[in-house]
Amino acid sequence: MYAFEYHRPTSIGQAATLATEVEDVKFLAGGHTLLPTMKMRLAAPASLIDLSQIAELHGIERSAESITIGAMTKHAEVVNSSEIRESIPALAEMAELIGDPHVRHRGTIGGSVANNDPSADYPAACLALNATIITNKREIAADDFFQGIFTTALEEGEIITRVSFPIPSRAAYAKFRHPASRYALVGVFVAERGNDVRLAVTGAGADGVFRVPEMEQSLSRHFAPDALEGIIIPPEGMNGDIHADAAYRAHLVGIMARRAVQAAASRG
């Protein structure tokens, strides 16, 4: 990788100030996407601002209504959090499907959300659970945050501080993993909260994570796999590559949606 300047602030304020003062900045979270990207010279920032020593970005908090996760919280911490296991088990189960154990010791929720990889798991969880992405400047609803592959509502120098998830009545994530990369070929996260059902798909969309309103409406009337019968996902707008073409992914969306609903419904 090309040379860069390295900065390690200890507060969000310092990090935000640095970002305005130094040229061509990238924020470094767990580094498990950014560092490989820099090695391949697909990114060559002049400066890295390492967020790992900022205490305000760590920690998991539970209230009656929500779980709020600090941006630098690692996937393994989400997997092992008893608060999350009790309130949103689907979220802990999703985190356990990311990468491998070593990757989960480094990768962070903030990094995954900010990167918005079209095959990443967290964007689907955020969208289905109606999360709020909290930054050093504002709060952004997940519906407004994810804006296409590797594209988000974040402005230059804006730092995700926390992600807040309303606690659903039941939820589940079903993932068809690519066996080598362990990213989602297709992943479906479904969440029911009162009469509101949200269903989000990652890995499939040519434009990144998306919701399926037709499935959501049918599930809000009857939350069971058979509510999805007859709903066809067309291949138009799906991603196609050497691993799976658009028609295959479109078909998988229906399969994984049924599995996710089945798993969520069985939570009673």
Binding site: F4, Y6, G31, L35, P36, D100, P101, H102, H105
Partner: protein
């Protein structure tokens, strides 16, 4: 250059490094600890797994500067007083290697697995937990047997486990 200070296998180390130096490069080239291998260099294969503050990580995807003020254990740090760590001994006993290239990462991953999951590991758990470590020789069969036996041996020999 940026100064890093960390503890590697119980020894304090301070050095000036280019910020782009990877932890695995720092271990191998600065400290000459060449037991940690570079396989794929893309965070897939696990040949470079070391423990960073007690957790298994892929040292090809961590900068040396990110390990500042941390405690690192490499494969060289496992054996105590010339005696193999129980997990190393189990890999030898069960022939858990052929060419040996993936072995340091496998053993560091296996010790981390026992630290997290305990010593009673069934085959399914071991295979799932090793998904971040690739072996191109053995077909994993003897590696899985070695991890199961090494996990049991770590409990039967708690002194050496604590030394890790």
């Amino acid at each position: 250059m940026t100064t890093v200070s960390l503890t590697v296998n119980g020894q304090s180390v301070t050095a000036d490094v280019d910020p782009r130096t990877l932890l695995v490069q720092f271990l191998r080239e600065n400290l000459r600890l060449t037991g940690t291998h570079v396989g794929c260099d893309t965070s897939q294969c696990g040949a470079c797994v070391v423990h960073l503050n007690g957790q298994a990580v892929k040292a090809c995807t961590v900068l040396a500067v990110q390990a500042d003020a941390s405690v690192v254990t490499t494969i060289e740090g496992l054996a105590q007083g010339g005696e193999l760590h129980p997990m190393q001994a189990a890999f030898r006993e069960h022939h858990g290697l052929q060419c040996g290239y993936c072995t340091p990462g496998m053993i560091m991953a296996a010790v981390d697995m026992v630290n997290r999951k305990g010593s009673n590991l069934d085959e399914q758990t071991i295979r799932a937990e090793l998904e971040g470590n690739l072996c191109r020789c053995t077909g994993y069969h003897n590696i899985v047997k070695a991890v199961a036996a090494g996990a049991q041996a770590m409990v039967q020999n708690p002194v050496r486990q604590a030394a890790e």
